[in-house]
Structure formats: structure tokens, C-alpha cells
Assembly symmetry: C2
Homo-oligomer: 619 residues x 2
């Protein structure tokens, strides 16, 4: 703990947070994930953020404006946004503040969060202008919001242009949407304040996922995923970066196809939900650094040149107009902070969702994807690395691979010549998703159908077609499309390469930070590869280090969860900024012996079986 | 003085200003036109705004962050941006702060101003990224600026997109331009910090004037004027507003032709100055409310419907991209506040330039233009009205009328049958500008060539051509184009209508506020109608009330001066906001008897000669 740091404890939650001296109580609360209401965005204007402090001498006296808002008998009360502790302090949130916003438990996380999005709506009934009172339209709106404690200092361009007509058409009864307590981004006729939607987007190299979220309840109401529309321009990041470096117009094309894809996903979600895309009030974007830059329209070409430095590390806010998304032009698009050239906003979101930054003991988060990331550490600090796994674990580059949707085989058991499987939705299988692929390879290994080096051996279900060896997983008569579903020798090889990349990342990061498997208290496993992953299978093939099952936690699509957290509340957004500044990045491919490590890890589970004592193979 | 107000006095200048309680010393200094250096824009980060306070007990104690910046032995020193006086106070600016920025005396005003524009440049030498230090490009720029006390929180979109290439091409030695101490709006290779240009634009109904200003010296280096490119769509505001109300595409056309005209003027100025239009760092726009809205691309149609309320009254900042100007897209376009539906940012600029808001005695500013404005008042308050004068006084709608440029007759004396004149530049005449027209009509009146009702009488220089009576001002053998320059009966009628509108505005506003001519201490006369105006002629025709010559002051193109003031320094900009909130607007056309007043004022100088005792006519 640096000498500049102090502790702020929030009661009755008992949550505490370490902050730099000079941080005010409202900022500290956001970092602690504690909700304190504020309408003015912490500018000392609305007076809503009253808190009770344990020891007034730890704080400077209120300045005149704070004193005025507190009133005569303030007693131990202070405004959280104005009060800057000089020493560690305990702060009590008054009951009326605690009750004022709904709490939600975020699916698949330990987050219990108070809904406090960056966007809020205000229903206004305005006096129409008259010759006696011809005040300007936006002075009228600003004045009404100011009475509610919200001080507008910026105006969305489209809102400036459309607002006057809306005000008149609606008979001066409108709903104003305000972003970050300061920018007016929408004026809609009537009272639309009960509808509050946001969109979270995870831009993966292979898969792009978009979820429509109801910001009043925290519920995900629609979801859609597509293959990244950049794939025709290059399957992997390196190919796309070369194209981006070729010419600005190629760079522009990659940006354009991506935002068009995202726009149409959002439009589909909105159509199914029966809302207008204009009703999407904010979008939160995560993705690896290259996808993040390409989605936001930042120059990406330098990410393809050593030393791979990103354009921007901090979170970015641009408008839909700036980004090119087909939404209301003034809608804010928030991209979470990136961590390094190859560790992006998705890793930052995974850190948020897993809360690894507040673990007392060393923990690890493994985000499995075409470009995977590993984060290792605790509240004392985090280290991260990236690994180019390729798309096999997302079901791509696999003969019968598919995304985790209806009809995908997600679980496999092999019992002699019998194959037992489960599909998503329970209907006849049409392909295999990531978790099914991992299961299938693990089961073939355990059944002796493949060896440690991954080669298919003679077996009643193994055959050769067009010179390629393959394992018949499901015969055509049982499948949804009447054709056999097989796992080929090449498919197995793809899985080996992918899992070797992830394992090498995780084990190298452990070595780099001086941790052995027994030092890791918890491993959070995340990825967009399926709804489910069998930890035993993952360990059997050597995808993750051999850590006892009870210490493994599945976090599902944690990057998406992190993106949604930052839509639900400003608190995780501020926290992400804070965490991103503190994560150290290690470039593993430059470390000596990396290639040998990688080759050794392509064995199932590893060339050195002593690394996987819990995995017992037949021979 | 409201109970909430206090006085802040600045030494050694002896300037004092009345401010609302809660205003900090830096804000008060800006309102007083006193320069205090600040790099962080008043956010308590840079520590540059140290001032010495007379009475510490009038201020709250410094908070921890201010205390840290002040250091241990701060003594009577405080940070101006943090210190909020509780009572009237005297503040001393330390000598080192006074010396740090150049002072200029603004032409044609009483303004002595410290150059402190909203844009500033910083020459940066950055460490290039390495594998060991692959920090993000903009973190690098932000970090370097932060060390200089400038905290960037916003990034121009184009700068985000172009910056990374510029950084690399320049070998990481660049000049960063920062707007309002917070937004990064340009990264240029090398050291361009000695070049700092801004553009001021006055968008008149008839004439659009643009001046290129060197912001390091305060000098106007190039100037250009054009007829408003909207004129083909309607000579007067009402016609253009009808078109704007017809359809959004017509409204868009009016906006487009105007910004194209302004763009090409700026480009011409830049070309003549030998700079790139990308080097224009900020643009300041004034104009009547309709021109202001149409230039900025705000909806204008409601200005054509009762109660004529504007979209926005406060100053607006949009980017060149938003406005559609052909400059660097991130350039800020600042439009000064408007005062009412028909009293615009030009009137606000005239108030700024004339400093009528700080007069102890009642004064009046008369801005003569196609849409003229009158402001009347003192430091105790201002009242304003508008008058639709038409373009005659700008030389339009006059047979040989022209703008105030080379070859325009600007002075006229009639001595019997002889006409003596002066032209701009001294060459042969090619037409008459506004001041020449006023002189000509006044001289014809004094010579008995026209009567009080404005009709031409028999005279050796009066003739009839094509059924129209006209006065031969200059015979063809003396003119630049070989044709006679004449003043027709219709021209005289146009001048009568124009001057009647201005006089009715001025006299009605005086009546409305209970002031007689003898109560008016000073009349500031302004307009884009020429370089010069003869006050005796103006009174002779009854353009301005009969106030002694020694109380009249010519302020030239004061709207342009106000626009330039707000480029030179943030102080007048803040002041404009402050003043605009306090000006009361009177809609004179709705007052009883207005039409009769106007008809009476069409006489020369007036139907009631007792209103102009100083004007003695021949009969």
C-alpha cells in the first residue's frame, strides 16, 4: 500500500476500498461498487449524495457551496462528491439513499449491483414559449432539468437539430435522456421514461455477440451472434492487420463491414423486442485490442507493427455518428479500456466480471477465444498475457464445428463403441460447438481412440474417407441433416494447437510470476465457446493447468458480462479504468524457450505427464 | 445589487467586478477581464493560478488538493480556481503571473486584453514506444501534457484517427493543440507552436465578413467579405425563413450555401496568408439569431413563427465537422450567445466591444445593419430591441450601392451645383457605400435638393430618366466605369425606410426605459456599412437621435470586434455568457402606435422637427 493511499469503508455494507489520497467519497464508493445517488454527476450541484461520516476531522471543512447544500444543521452529514478524506475513514450510507435504486444480482457473477446507468431519462412538462416568455427551447429544457438537479453542459448535435420540432409536436411534454449527468442526447415526445435499453457487444475475432439489455431491470432481453463479417478478409487477426496496413481504404473497409454487422444485429434484437433502434440509449463495446480499434474506427495498423502499441488504452466514448453505427447519432458508444496491444477490452471485462482484482489469494482468469487472454493475480496486482489460439474452441475450423446454438452437440461420452451426446435444445444434432469438441477429444483420448500425440488409432468408428482419417461421432440416420457427423484427424490437430496456446499462456504466466498450480486459489474459466464446459475434459486434453476441480469456476461469456456490468452502472466503468491502469502485460512470445513450451503443450494433455497427475490415460 | 452578490477587486489593476456568491476567483477574474494564468482550465490541477488574498477569513480553508499544490508555506497565497470568497475581497495578481502573457489594445475599443485564447499549442518530444514500454499513443501524449499541467479528458475524432500516423512520421516530436484546456484537437508534426490562427465571422443578412486573426499578436492579418450567398433565395430574413419552413431540404440548402460561402472566404484568407486552412484552430461566429442558427445548422424555422423563440441562447461550441465548414474537422466553432429571437450574437458582440455593460451612466449602442439592433442601459442592466432596416445602409438596394471597398464613395459634400466626394483608396468612383449614401442624402437635404418628405426638387443635377427622377452625383467622365453615378428617388426612399427603422427602434427603446436624449451619456454607433460614418449626416437624416456630437462614438464593425475579442481570450467569452443572461428584450412591433411612430420617422429628419433641434434645414 503506497503512502498516498487511504482506506474508505462503507457501512452498512462493510465494503472497503483502497484509494489514492485526494479521491472524494463518491469516487471511492464507485470503486467499491457501492451506490450513492447523484443527479449532477458529482459536481456538487444536486445535493443528493449525502453521507454520514464517522470522523469529521479526517475531512476538510465544507466549502461555501457544499455548506449551502447541506443546510444549517448538517451534523455529521457531508456531500460525498465534495468530501475528500485526508485519512482512512468510515462512511455510512443513509437508509433513504440505499432504497432509492433497484439492486440486481448479475447472472454468472458475484456482482450484486445497483442499477445506475450512465444514461437516465427525465419526463418533463414544459411551459410553451409566449411573446412574454420567448426563452430559447433548450434553455427551457435545461432549466427544467436543472430544477431536478441535473446540469446540462453539452448537447448532442442531432438532439439540437430535432429537439425543437419534437418539443412542439409533443405539446411541450417530453422525455429527455441525459448521458453522464451532463450531455442531453435525446428528446422524445411524451413520457418514455419507463423504457431504458442498452446494448452490449463483444467483438471477437471469430464471433461477434450482441445483447439487448433492459436497463430498468438488468435483464438481457435479446441476444444475437454472428461470425465476424471481417472473416472473408482474413481468418486471423494478423491477416486482417496486414490488410489494414496496406491502405487506408482497406482499413476503412474492415471498419465498415464490422459496424454494419453490429448495426444489423442490434436492429434484429430491437425488432424482436418491438422497440425502435433509436430507443437504444447506450452501447458498451468490448473486444481484443485489434477488434476494439477496428470497431471504434481507430487506426489499427500500428497494432500490426512492433512494439504493438494501441492508440488508446483508457475507455473511449464516441457517438454512434462517429463510430458509424445505425442508431440515433447522439447515442454514446463506450469502449472499455484496453490493457495492451494484444490484451484488450474483453480481458478488462473478464477482470471486471470475475472480480479477480479483489481476491485476497492469487487467482487466475482464463478467457478462451480465438485470441485468448490470461490474467493472474490478486488485490495486490494483476499480470496478463495473450495467446493466439485460433478459432477451433469456438467451433470454427472444425469440419462439423458450429456456434453454441440449437442442435449443437455440447456434451459427449464414449463408452466402448457407443457415443452418448447431448445437444443444445435436445433435438437431433447438426454439428459440434466448442464444449462438445473439447469433450469429444478428451473422451477419444480416455478411450484410447487417439494417442498422446493426437493420432487416430484403429477403432470400429474410425474410418478413412478421401484419404483423411475420421471418427464417426453420430451416424447420419440420427443427425438433423442426414449426414454423419465426424471428427477428423485435422480437427483433432486444430484442437491440439488451440489448447496448447492457452495452456502455454497460463503456465508461462504462472512461471513468470513464480506461482505453482497449488498456489492458485481459484481459476475462472470464461469464453464465448459454449454455454458450458466440462472441466474434467478441459484438464484431460491439457487446455487448463491441473488444478483441483473445486477451485475451478465457470464464468461463461465473462467478456459480455463485463460489458453489461458497465451498462448497468457507472461504478464498474470507473473501476475498469482504475484496474486497467494497474495491470502489467507480459509479451510471452518473446520469452526464451517459448516455442519449445508450445510444442510440448500440443501433446495430450502434455509431453510431460507429471504436469497432469489427475489425468490417467489407458496406456 | 442582490444579496447574493459580492465584489472582487483585482490589484494592481484596480479592476473590480460584482459576482454571485459561490463564484471562484478565477471565474471572477475572467468576468473582470483580468488575466490569471491557468493551464488546467480551472480544475485545480496545474497550480499556475496563484493569487495573494487580502483577507483569508473571507475564504474557506484550502481543501487537501489545493493545500498540496500550494505547498507548506503558502502564506496568503491561494489558487484562484479553488478559492471561493464568502464576502467581498481584494485579490493581488503576483508579478510573475502578470508578465506571462502579451497584452494587446484591441482596435476601435477600450479593450486592453491579455491574449489567452481557448486554444493553445504545446510542443512535445515524446519517447517512442518500445517492447518494454508499449504504452498507448494517446497515453503518451496525455502524459506529456499532464506534466505541463494540462489534463486531457476529450479527444477530437479526426485527431484520434490521424494522430498515430503523425506521431510516427514526425519521429515523436509533435505540437499538440488543446481546446479549452481539456480537448485534444490537433497533433501536428514538429514544432508549430509559433503559429496560432483563428477566424472571426460576422454573418449578416446582406454581408458576410470573415477575418483571419493571428492569435499570438492579436493582429487581423486577412479580411474578406461577400454578399450573403443566401440572397438568391430571398433578400430579407422573412423570405428566407418562409423557405426554411417549407421543407427540411430547403432549410438544409440555406445552411449549405452559407457554410460553403464561409468556407471559401476562410480558404481565400488562408491562401493569401500562406497558411493551410487546417492551421485555423478556432472560429468564432456572430450574426443575428436567424443567421446564427442557419450558419451553425440549427433549426431556424421556428424563428419565423410567433413567439420567435430561438433554439439556443447560450454560446454554442460545435466542431467544424458538425457545422460542415471545410476546415480540420475537430476545429471548434464557437457561436456567441444570442439575446432573443431577433437579437442575435452580433448584438452580444457589440455589447462586448462597446463595454456598455460596465458604463456607470445610461448609454446606447446602435448596430446598423439590414437587421439592426439597439442596446440601452448601464452596469445596472441592459434592454435591447431589433429593427428590420433593410440593406440600404449597407449599400444594397441602392442603384449604385456597393460594399465599403476600393472605389466606393464614402464621403459627399454638395456646394451649390458642385459635388465633392472621397472614395475608398482615392481612385475614380465606381459606386456608393453606406456612409456615402448617408452623406449624399443629408447633403441633398441641407442643399434643398430634397424636401423633408424626401422628394427630389428641381435642380441643375436633377433629371428624369425612364420616368424616374435622379440626382447626378458624379458624371460619367469622372467615374471608374464611364457611366454617371446617380441617386434615384427610389434610392432616397430606401434610405428613408431604413433610417426610420433604426430611429424608431432607438427612440422607442428610450421611451420604453424612460430615457430622454439628454439622459444618454454615450451612443456607440456600429455597423458593417463602411469604414466611417459622418455623425452630422446621420443626425441630419434622422438615423440616430439628436444627441450632442461629443457623446457619439464610432465603434466601426463592432460585431466583428466582439467576435475577435472572444477569439483572443476566454475572458470576453465568459463575460458574453454572463451579459446575455441579463439583457431584457423588448418586442417593439407589438407596442401600440408603432406603425405611426415609424411613418413619422420616415420624414427627414422627422415629421416633428422639435426632435432634432440641432438640424437646421434651408426652408
Amino acid at each position: 500500500m503506497s503512502e498516498e493511499d487511504i482506506w474508505v469503508t462503507f457501512q452498512p455494507y462493510g465494503k472497503r476500498v483502497r484509494v489514492k489520497r485526494g479521491t472524494n467519497i463518491l469516487e471511492a464508493a464507485r470503486l467499491a461498487g457501492v451506490f450513492i445517488p447523484s443527479l449532477c454527476g458529482g459536481r456538487g450541484l444536486c445535493g443528493k449524495c449525502r453521507v454520514k461520516v464517522s470522523n469529521e476531522s479526517s475531512l476538510a471543512k465544507p466549502d461555501p457551496s457544499e455548506a449551502a447544500l447541506l443546510g444549517a444543521d448538517a451534523g455529521p452529514f457531508r456531500l460525498a462528491c465534495r468530501a475528500v478524506p485526508r485519512a482512512s475513514i468510515s462512511v455510512e450510507i443513509p437508509p433513504e439513499s440505499m432504497a432509492s435504486a433497484p439492486q440486481i444480482l448479475v447472472n454468472g457473477t458475484d456482482w450484486e449491483i445497483t442499477i445506475d446507468p450512465a444514461v437516465s431519462k427525465f419526463h418533463l412538462r414544459l411551459e410553451p414559449p409566449t411573446l412574454e416568455d420567448p426563452a430559447a427551447d433548450f434553455e427551457r429544457v435545461r432549466g427544467a432539468l436543472s430544477k431536478l438537479g441535473v446540469e446540462i453542459t453539452e448537447y448532442g448535435l442531432q438532439t439540437l437539430r430535432d429537439g425543437p420540432q419534437v418539443l412542439r409536436d409533443s405539446g411541450w411534454e417530453v422525455t429527455a435522456t441525459v448521458w453522464d449527468s451532463r450531455r442531453l442526447i435525446r428528446i422524445q415526445p411524451g413520457d418514455t421514461s419507463s423504457s431504458l435499453y442498452g446494448v452490449a457487444v463483444d467483438v471477437g475475432t471469430t464471433t461477434v455477440v450482441c445483447q439487448l439489455v433492459d436497463l430498468t431491470t438488468g435483464k438481457t432481453v435479446q441476444s444475437e451472434s454472428i461470425l465476424n463479417p471481417q472473416i472473408p478478409y482474413g481468418e486471423d487477426i494478423v491477416t486482417r492487420l496486414s490488410l489494414s496496413r496496406k491502405s487506408p481504404s482497406d482499413e476503412q473497409t474492415l471498419h465498415k463491414v464490422l459496424v454494419e454487422g453490429i448495426s444489423s444485429m442490434i436492429q434484429n434484437c430491437c425488432r424482436r423486442q418491438g422497440i425502435d433502434p433509436e430507443d437504444v440509449l447506450e452501447v458498451s463495446v468490448v473486444g481484443n485490442t485489434v477488434m476494439h480499434h477496428m470497431a471504434m474506427g481507430l487506426p489499427s495498423s500500428f497494432l500490426g507493427e512492433s512494439p504493438f502499441s494501441p492508440v488508446m488504452k483508457r475507455g473511449i466514448d464516441l457517438t454512434a455518428r462517429d463510430v458509424g453505427l445505425a442508431l440515433h447519432p447522439d447515442t454514446n458508444i463506450h469502449a472499455l479500456p484496453t490493457l495492451a496491444g494484444y490484451v484488450g477490452a474483453d480481458a478488462c471485462a473478464v477482470i471486471l466480471a470475475s472480480r479477480i482484482y479483489e481476491e485476497k489469494e492469487t487467482s487466475m482468469a482464463v478467457d478462451i477465444g480465438t485470441n485468448g487472454e490470461i490474467v493472474l493475480g490478486s488485490e495486490r496486482g494483476l499480470t496478463t498475457c495473450s495467446c493466439a489460439a485460433g478459432p477451433a474452441l469456438e467451433g470454427a475450423h472444425i469440419t462439423f464445428g458450429m456456434r453454441a446454438s440449437e442442435g449443437a452437440i455440447e456434451k459427449v461420452r464414449i463408452d466402448g463403441e457407443r457415443v452418448v451426446y447431448e445437444t443444445i435444445g435436445g433435438g437431433p444434432p447438426v454439428g459440434i460447438c466448442g464444449s462438445g469438441v473439447i469433450d469429444a477429444v478428451a473422451q477419444m483420448l480416455l478411450a484410447g481412440i487417439i494417442g498422446r500425440e493426437g493420432r487416430l488409432r484403429p477403432h470400429p468408428r474410425v474410418r478413412t474417407r478421401n484419404g483423411v482419417k475420421e471418427f464417426v461421432l453420430v451416424e447420419g440416420k440420427h443427425t438433423g441433416m442426414g449426414r454423419d457427423i465426424v471428427v477428423t484427424q485435422k480437427d483433432i490437430r486444430e484442437v491440439q494447437l488451440a489448447k496448447a496456446a492457452i495452456y502455454t499462456g497460463a503456465s508461462s504466466l504462472m512461471d513468470h510470476t513464480g506461482n505453482r498450480p497449488e498456489d492458485i486459489q481459484t481459476v475462472y474459466v470464461a469464453g464465448a465457446f459454449g454455454n458450458y464446459i466440462d472441466f474434467r475434459s478441459a484438464k484431460t486434453i491439457g487446455l487448463i493447468p491441473d488444478i483441483p476441480i473445486e477451485r475451478l469456476r465457470f464464468r461463461g461469456h465473462a467478456a459480455m458480462t463485463g460489458a453489461k456490468l458497465s451498462l448497468f452502472s457507472r461504478s464498474p466503468r470507473q473501476l475498469a479504468e482504475h484496474v486497467a491502469q494497474k495491470v502489467r502485460y507480459v509479451e510471452l512470445t518473446c520469452t526464451p524457450g517459448f516455442n519449445q513450451r508450445y510444442m510440448d503443450a500440443t501433446y495430450l494433455p502434455h509431453r510431460d505427464p507429471s504436469r497432469f497427475p489427475s489425468v490417467r490415460l489407458p496406456d
